[in-house]
């Protein structure tokens, strides 16, 4: 049994939603990063502080798919990824300043989504 620490993720100055508390578990143990260019520094910091594994979600899907994700870090422009991960029950962190929009907006809540996040908004809880 791995011991994971909890982190708090707050919205950036022009962001929306949150704060979220991310607590990885043995079941939800991946900090999945779905951005261009590998692991984003925000995902890496969450991984470092929690002790969970940062996972490049654009190269492959973790075993267990959505159910294995402690959270998803995205660089969504506002329409698609912003809704897909909240809809599937995954706490979602957008590095861009987005607010709920698109056909899946109904699934995006302050309890499961936070945006405008940089490394400064990730702290130990």
């Amino acid at each position: 049994m791995a011991e994971y620490k909890k982190v708090k993720v707050e919205a950036g100055k022009s962001g929306w939603g949150g704060p979220l508390e991310i607590q990885p578990t043995d079941e939800r143990k991946y900090i999945v990063c779905i951005t261009g260019g590998g692991i984003h520094p925000v995902a890496q910091k969450i991984a470092d502080l929690t002790g969970a594994e940062a996972f490049d979600g654009f190269k492959s899907s973790p075993e267990g798919s959505f159910k294995a994700m402690a959270c998803a870090v995205i660089d969504c422009g506002g329409t698609a990824r912003i809704g897909v991960y909240p809809m599937k029950g995954v706490p979602t962190i957008d590095i861009h300043d987005t607010t709920p929009a698109g056909p899946l907006a109904q699934f995006i809540k302050e309890e499961n989504f936070v945006s405008g996040v940089s490394e400064d908004q990730v702290t130990e809880a």
């Binding site: 779905i34 698609a80 861009h96």
Partner: protein, 119 residues
Amino acid sequence: MHIYSSEIVRIGDQASLFLDEGIVVFFGDNAPEELQDFAVIHKLNEISEEIIVGSKILLSDANLEVTAVGPVANENFKNLGHLVLKLDSATEAALPGDVSCKYDKKPVIEIGDRLEITQ
């Protein structure tokens, strides 16, 4: 000038959630399975230029012309093969990832159809 040329290889089971609202969400065929479910998937090829206002898009049987480009749209396309086309003729992108277009008709997209983007 040539920007991008590809073909549609898959249409996700839930892509209609977006298509019904005049939004075509593209991902490349390297995208993770959980995103492919929601998207129209193109065979990822080399992207030679940025999409700008006035770029022409041939998608299936429809001719589109770009009317607005959001500030992160080209970055998403280049990095992830991810493109969000909105058939709303907007002259200002509503969201940072949007590529808004006017069109001669709404595309009816099927597997094997072409996606051609030119200047």
